[in-house]
Amino acid sequence: MSLDAQTLDPQQLKTWLLAAGNKDAKAFRQLYNATSSKLFGFALRILHKQELAEEALQEGFVAIWNNAATYQSHLAAPMTWMATIVRNKAFDVLRRSDDTVEIDAEQFDSEVMNALRDPQATPIESLQMSGDAKALAFCMSALEGLHRQVVALAYYHDLSHSEVAQQMSLPIGTVKTWIRRSLERLRTCLAKREAP
């Protein structure tokens, strides 16, 4: 665990990512070793099927290698940048396959949010998150449960307002309002945590 926590250190990841941008295959391998289980867990969470998640991870790392030279460290943390790529690849894979993914907002909430609500039960550390993710987890845990679900559902399943409304059996106006308010609250909360 401590090793993983250490390897997700943004400075170290950044060094490897920049080196990969200069076609340093060894650094790229280290970057893969440090982040692939985190990103694979993420792809599995979106796609549910092992085979599809493997495809998304592979496509993701090929794109990471091919685009590493364009990575701008002042715009995004390395994990953020890589997660964006893997998420997009996962949605591409999903669109290409005929599978429909079973959506389970409830499970998302119980798996992760319980840990955030009750850090004693599952310490946040055991999820091996970066500082950015811990801050976001803290701020999301301060949202109302249903609001949090709506935001997570949209993020993990690439849903529109109306699709979220359908999934949650809520009026679309309610979903729009909840998402807008939740995003504003997250912004305020994160800004406070950043302030010294």
């Binding site: 391998r29 289980s37 694979f40 495809e55 715009l75 995004a76 396959s97 998150m129 976001l136």
Partner: protein, 231 residues
């Protein structure tokens, strides 16, 4: 619509763009604005930095070793003896966007195979896509009776489909030479079915998994085609 100066709206659109709820025409419009508006790009990057760490809210799962193997193979990351020159040439060639040059392909093959010395390359072919970009390189090794097919481009194949290689004779049904991977390279057995004098065309079609269900020929569209050059 002009969104410059309307900070609340800019924040809202950027956040929903990152979250993914901004869809369709609104999303495309937003991407158009991003192109010309550096401040909007910064706002969007900030939102990405805020929301994208949600990716880390999942339990880590170690991926199987084959995933790295495939990445390594696709990106030609592990040099192996005489092949390294070939791999380097290939990636260099790719990075220059010279994929359309069949002549470069032939040169690379001839140079690298001479270095390898053992195989006896009797035929080479470059298969092109509809835009006349090289998609595959075929080399027939008559000493080992192998036919190597190497993907050049990066054209993903849907998980329920496979690529199938055909030799189309001057008359009669196309002959299946085997199924291909959508990346890396594949070695197939070489026979006169592949390099016979009557072969008029080589073609790759998109077929259901396991290959064309029709014993008389392909069922899917032709993706790439080309012909042999005898050396």
């Amino acid at each position: 619509m002009n969104i410059r100066g309307n900070d609340a709206l800019r924040q809202k659109l950027a956040s929903e763009y990152v979250l993914g709820t901004l869809k369709g025409g609104a999303r495309r419009r937003f991407e158009g604005w991003l192109y010309n508006d550096a401040d909007l790009r910064n706002i969007t990057a900030e939102w990405r930095q805020r929301l994208e760490p949600m990716a880390e809210f999942t339990t880590p799962v170690t991926p199987p070793k084959r995933v790295w193997k495939q990445i390594e193979q696709r990106l030609h990351l592990s040099p192996q003896g005489g092949w390294s020159l070939w791999r380097d040439s290939l990636s260099f060639w790719r990075s220059l966007g010279l994929a359309s040059s069949a002549i470069a392909a032939l040169l690379v093959i001839v140079m690298s195979t001479q270095l390898m010395s053992t195989p006896q390359i009797s035929h080479v072919a470059t298969l092109m896509d509809e835009k006349s970009q090289t998609a595959m390189l075929l080399t027939a090794d008559s000493r080992h009776d192998t036919l190597e097919v190497r993907m050049v481009g990066n054209a993903p194949v849907p998980t329920d489909k496979e690529l199938e290689l055909w030799a189309v004779p001057k008359s009669g049904n196309p002959r299946s030479l085997g199924l291909l991977a959508d990346k890396g390279s594949v070695k197939l057995a070489l026979s006169s079915r592949a390099i016979g004098n009557d072969v008029a065309l080589l073609a790759v079609t998109l077929e259901p998994r396991g290959g064309s269900p029709d014993p008389n020929g392909p069922t899917g569209p032709i993706l790439y085609k080309g012909n042999w050059v005898r050396l």
